[in-house]
């Protein structure tokens, strides 16, 4: 399953490390990263692929949400299909 992970919040040490650690533990392969910092605000979009079918998307969402809460970041994980279908005929 192809995923899109979006992260938004105040820049701080360890955002990428923390998020990618969780993804790695869940056997999610990161295929591309687009990141920038504007006025101290961190903005990142990751494309990723969930390879292990025994891992549930809901588990990943739950862990990242908790981490986001802890670090005061907004972290969203979505199935990529919603973007494909909306922007391609």
């Amino acid at each position: 399953m192809k995923l899109v992970v979006t992260i938004f919040g105040k820049d701080q040490v360890g955002i990428i490390a923390n998020v990618s650690n969780i993804l790695a533990a869940k056997k999610v392969n990161i295929t591309s990263v687009n990141q920038n910092i504007v006025d101290g605000f961190f903005n990142m979009i990751m494309m990723a692929e969930l390879t292990d079918s025994s891992v549930k998307l809901a588990e990943i969402q739950k862990e990242l949400k908790e981490k986001g809460h802890e670090m005061n970041l907004e972290i969203k994980v979505q199935n990529q299909e919603i973007f494909n279908i909306m922007h391609n005929v």
Partner: protein, 453 residues
């Protein structure tokens, strides 16, 4: 290939412009539940609904999480009870409404529609029992919605029913007066009602529908408004193009959700209803879309033209995005559920007469309009007759959902709460009686379909 801009645009629509899938509605046929004993019939209905829709809410929530798109309502529509319960040997269908209420609560949906009768040409025994049962049914249940179709382009208008529905609405208001006539917010009178509408209060599972279907209603006036914000001063060709493109994107999301819900539930996909359905939330208003086109306030001259363009462009854009389109499809103009409409009524730019004109070109009709509590049944019937005539002649769906709030006068306001919103009491020209007109009864014949001037 999706780009970063695509991702940002979609997520902006969801978070800032309040894009959502308004409803996943499961239509369930109750025709096989018929039984002469009403208790057995109610048992059959309860069992069928709870079994069919057991996983509806959970499925909706799972899809919501998977794509990160809010799915606001999960609902059920059933075969019009006047048909399904007709064989019951009884003089009241109130127990049926109560069992619908219980079944809906058991599966966790927030509304169940289909306490309905289709009487555009005449009444059967079941139709009469159902219509007589409406006021009590709506006052003793919480989530049951009722609708009556009393006119169509093919059959004309059943004026006996028009007269009766004025009285039914008054009686419903009276029985739910301690909740500001909330019962009337769950009762809609139609002309040309579609049998596949997923939106409440008018949803029912039409007689020509399959055993079970899943239909989806999309929304998104905030997204359309945002798209138009970049078009200040642009001509209407450009405005229409932009609305079409936006409607396409909104509808694609609905199609994705419908397909997935259908697969997960093992129930065939019915239709997508391409509607711009507002909510009382700021920025989720159809009136604001019309104002974005250049009207100072909704209701100003030009409003009907703006709405016509909007309604048509939404359909054109949405049609290509979905494999099956149906239901009401267009822009809804409920007053209490749209912050822009509420403000327009309050500032005086919008009147019930202008709303009536707007219903000639919008997708439904006079919707969620609170009127003075002492508005007579005949005046309400007059409003219904006018609205049904617009639908009949123009070959479109029209509806009336008015709420005569006991004890309220023009200048007052009524709060229904939640998505039903808040409504200032709207002035009706009731200094002049419609009594003798409504008292006639009978049928208005079906209209000519040629020489259409």
């Amino acid at each position: 290939m999706i780009t970063i801009d695509n991702i940002l645009e979609t997520n902006r629509m969801i978070t800032e412009n309040k894009l959502d899938v308004r409803t996943i509605t499961m239509g369930i046929s109750l025709r096989d539940c018929a039984h002469p004993n009403i208790n057995q019939f109610c048992k059959n209905v309860y069992d069928k609904i709870t079994k069919s829709a057991e996983f509806l809410v959970k499925t909706g929530e799972d899809i919501e999480a998977k794509y990160g798109i809010p799915i606001i309502h999960k609902r059920i529509s059933v075969t019009p009870i006047a048909i399904a319960a007709e064989a019951c040997e009884t003089d009241s269908f109130v127990p049926v409404a109560e069992v619908l209420d219980k079944a809906a609560k058991e599966v966790g949906v927030n509304f169940i529609g289909g306490f309905s009768a289709l009487v555009e040409k005449g009444f059967t025994k079941g139709d009469k029992i159902l219509i007589d049962s409406i006021p009590q049914a709506l006052s003793t249940t919480d989530v049951v919605c009722s609708s009556v179709n009393l006119g169509s382009t093919k059959a004309g208008i059943n004026m006996d029913c028009v007269r009766q529905m004025g009285e039914v609405i008054k009686r419903t208001a009276e029985l739910t007066r301690d909740q500001d006539a909330l019962g009337c917010a769950k009762l809609v009178v139609f002309c040309n009602a579609p049998g596949d509408n997923p939106f409440m209060a008018g949803a029912f599972h039409g007689v020509s529908e399959a055993e079970k279907v899943v239909s989806v209603g999309v929304s998104g006036p905030g997204v359309v408004k945002h798209a138009l914000e970049d078009l200040k001063g642009a001509d209407f060709t450009e405005v229409a193009e932009t609305i079409k493109k936006t409607a396409f994107k909104i509808t694609r999301v609905g199609q994705l959700v419908a397909r997935e819900a259908s697969r997960r539930l093992g129930v065939p996909f019915g239709i997508i209803d391409l509607s711009l359905a507002p909510t009382p939330a700021v920025g989720d208003s159809v009136a604001n879309v019309l104002e974005e086109m250049g009207l100072e306030s909704c209701g100003a001259p030009g409003t009907t033209a703006a709405l016509a363009l909007l309604n048509d462009a939404v359909k054109k854009g949405g049609l290509m995005a979905s494999s099956h389109v149906g239901g009401l499809s267009g822009a809804f103009i409920p007053v209490s559920e749209d912050q822009g409409m509420i403000e327009a009524i309050e500032c005086g730019s919008l009147s019930i007469e202008k709303l009536e004109a707007m219903t000639c070109v919008c997708s439904v009709g006079l919707d969620m309009i609170a009127v003075e509590g002492d508005t007579t049944a005949a005046t309400i019937s007059g409003i219904i007759a006018d609205e049904a005539a617009i639908g009949m002649i123009n070959n479109k769906t029209t509806a009336v959902r008015v709420i005569p709030v006991p004890g309220k006068k023009v200048g007052d306001s009524v709060e229904f709460g939640g998505l039903l919103g808040r409504c200032p009491i709207v002035k009706v020209r009731n200094n002049w009686s419609s009594e003798a007109f409504i008292a006639r009864g009978g049928r208005i014949p079906a209209p000519l379909r040629s020489l259409t001037n």
